[in-house]
């Protein structure tokens, strides 16, 4: 009995770490959707590019400096952040501006194409092989009694909480953050206030790219593998967002965490005890997605969207 309990606790903590990453992906995805009504299927690819760029910076600094230090990773992180700001700005220019008021179908086709193009370009530049990303924390772990948690997982959870607090602060307490909310509620009224909505949209894409890059940097060492298929994990932003309530930012975060927990726990229980249920974690998200759509389409934090005339 206690074994089961311990095992479950272990799974849940690990699930929260994985879910934190899903939450960040879903956060970036939802921000773009709320502000610009663009459904960005390339959100996972933004994450993948972020992981690659960070890997590039880490290896470059390592070959220059020799042994890895905390500075190596911090400087690489800084470089990746600068890259993601530029990347988000460029995407706003090439995707958001021309497509913003197009029918939703065109937008979906365009972002799907963007995802494929990004994967191809990364494969061309980095080569088709999988890479082994470095964890800044190695294999170190902390034990709380009999429960062992890796430092990497703790740092993932910590970073996600930190990021959510930062974003909450920006959205609710800064002029530009409130302007972002205002723009996503009513872009026309926002324009009449003198809010430059084009710049707000650019800012939203930049934020989204920054969060995606950070989630990629956190995820890569956790799955200890870096290749171009990493972007597919970004599709988990959908079940996460639907579970929490599509278009709700708190919903995206909570939905992401719950999804991560469901995945690891189902893996640890079902797939562990029943040999014939293999790799349940790969499909459980989609089962959840369909179940939520059937039972409670508005999700946990869902708000009925009232379209303004």
């Amino acid at each position: 009995m206690t074994d089961l309990f311990l095992g479950l606790t272990q799974e849940i903590i690990s699930g929260i770490a994985l879910g934190s990453i899903y939450a960040l992906i879903a956060l970036g995805f939802t921000m773009i959707f709320k502000a610009t009504e663009v459904v960005n299927f390339a959100q996972g690819e933004l994450m993948m590019v972020g992981a690659y760029v960070n890997f590039f910076f880490v290896t470059t600094f390592l070959s220059a400096a020799g042994t890895p230090t905390a500075w190596t990773f911090l400087v690489a992180l800084g470089g990746s952040m600068i890259f993601s700001v530029l990347f988000g700005y460029i995407l706003d220019f090439i995707i958001n501006r021309p497509l913003k008021d197009e029918p939703i179908f065109s937008v979906i086709m365009a972002t799907l194409s963007l995802a494929i193009i990004i994967r191809a370009v990364v494969a061309i530049i980095a080569g088709p092989i999988s890479l082994m990303p470095f964890s800044p924390f190695g294999d170190s772990a902390i034990s709380f009694g009999t429960i062992i948690v890796s430092v990497l997982d703790l740092s993932i959870i910590g970073s996600a909480i930190g990021l959510v607090i930062i974003f909450y602060y920006i959205f609710h307490y800064t002029r530009w953050g409130i302007a972002m909310q205002a723009t996503s509620e009513d872009p026309i009224a926002a324009q009449l206030m003198g809010i430059p909505i084009k710049r707000v949209y650019a800012l939203v894409w930049i934020f989204s790219a920054v969060v995606a890059t950070l989630s990629g940097i956190l995820l890569a060492p956790r799955i200890a593998l870096l290749d171009t298929t990493m972007g597919f994990l970004g599709l988990k932003a959908f079940p996460a967002a639907v579970l929490g309530g599509f278009g709700s930012i708190p919903g995206a975060i909570v939905g992401g965490v719950i999804l991560g927990v469901i995945e690891t726990v189902s893996m640890g229980t079902l797939s562990f005890h029943f040999q014939w249920i293999k790799e349940i974690n790969d499909i459980i998200a989609w089962i959840v997605l369909i179940a939520v759509l059937m039972i409670k389409p508005d999700g946990l934090f869902g708000v009925e969207k009232v379209k303004k005339v």
């Binding site: 002029r175 909310q181 205002a182 009513d186 009449l192 206030m193 003198g194 809010i195 303004k308």
Partner: protein
């Protein structure tokens, strides 16, 4: 102050304005009357830059503004309270006012303007932490007007402020508009509520299907049988007292 000359505006292929010309002089309260779909809202949207006119010119203080972005036009001193108020329902009353003052960089000035808005409408101070969507229709209209006044505009565009309000609140809103006008704000008011609008206006334009049909002072328009027949669809047997009376 504002000079609109021969403006033609299209929505896609549909022509909404067929060469509208009008003028607002400093300190005036000018009203545009007209039935639904006559193009009243389009005139205001064209002035504030939300839609671009195909032909014609708009000058504000002798500067041409008809090709400028809305945010530049606001910055020049024209604030627009849109139809149905369009407050930000999920933001608090305070945040709505803050957005009204988005272009104000100095913190002290912003605080002063906010204080002024609260003094003007004490109910907004009581509800400052409340989400604006929870306010009543009348309170939302006060918020929408206060939000537009945060920038101390030289010209205020008001689009049907009485829309969806109870008769009692309509009186309040018009009293507020009159007071604003008296305090020196130049106003261009779009209304369907002929009664109230003409009573407080210095000058009025009557719009039918995208064209200015009539214009004149309160007395001119009051005497004009055509207003009633064409715009109001009333015959000459309708008693005047019912139409224009308080």
């Amino acid at each position: 102050m504002l000079k609109v000359v021969g403006v033609e505006t299209y929505y896609g292929k549909v022509k909404a304005l067929h060469g509208v010309s009008l003028e607002v002089k400093e300190g005036q309260l000018v009203t545009i009357l007209g039935a639904n779909g006559a193009g009243k809202t389009t005139i205001l949207k064209t002035i504030s830059g939300l839609v671009e006119p195909e032909n014609g010119t708009i000058h504000f203080n002798d500067i041409r503004i008809d090709r400028k972005d809305p945010e530049d036009i606001v910055a020049m001193g024209i604030s627009h309270v849109p139809e149905w108020r369009r407050i930000f329902p999920e933001l608090t009353v305070y945040e709505n006012l803050l957005m009204g003052g988005f272009l104000i960089k100095e913190k002290d000035l912003l605080r002063d303007r906010m204080e002024e808005a609260y003094r003007h409408f004490p109910v907004l101070r009581q509800r400052q932490k409340q989400r604006a969507g929870t306010l009543s229709g009348g309170e939302q209209q006060m918020l929408a007007i206060s939000r537009a006044l945060m920038l101390k505009p030289q010209l205020l565009l008001l689009d049907e402020p009485s829309l969806g309000l109870s008769p009692l609140l309509v009186q309040d809103i018009f009293a507020t508009i009159k007071e604003l006008h008296r305090s020196g704000v130049t106003i261009l008011l779009v209304e369907q509520n002929v009664n109230h609008a003409l009573k407080i206006a210095d000058y009025g334009y009557v719009l039918t299907t995208g064209k200015i049909f009539l214009s004149g002072t309160y007395e001119d328009l009051l005497d004009e049988e055509k207003v009633r027949e064409q715009y109001l669809g009333e015959g000459k047997y309708t008693r005047r007292a019912d139409l224009w009376g308080g």
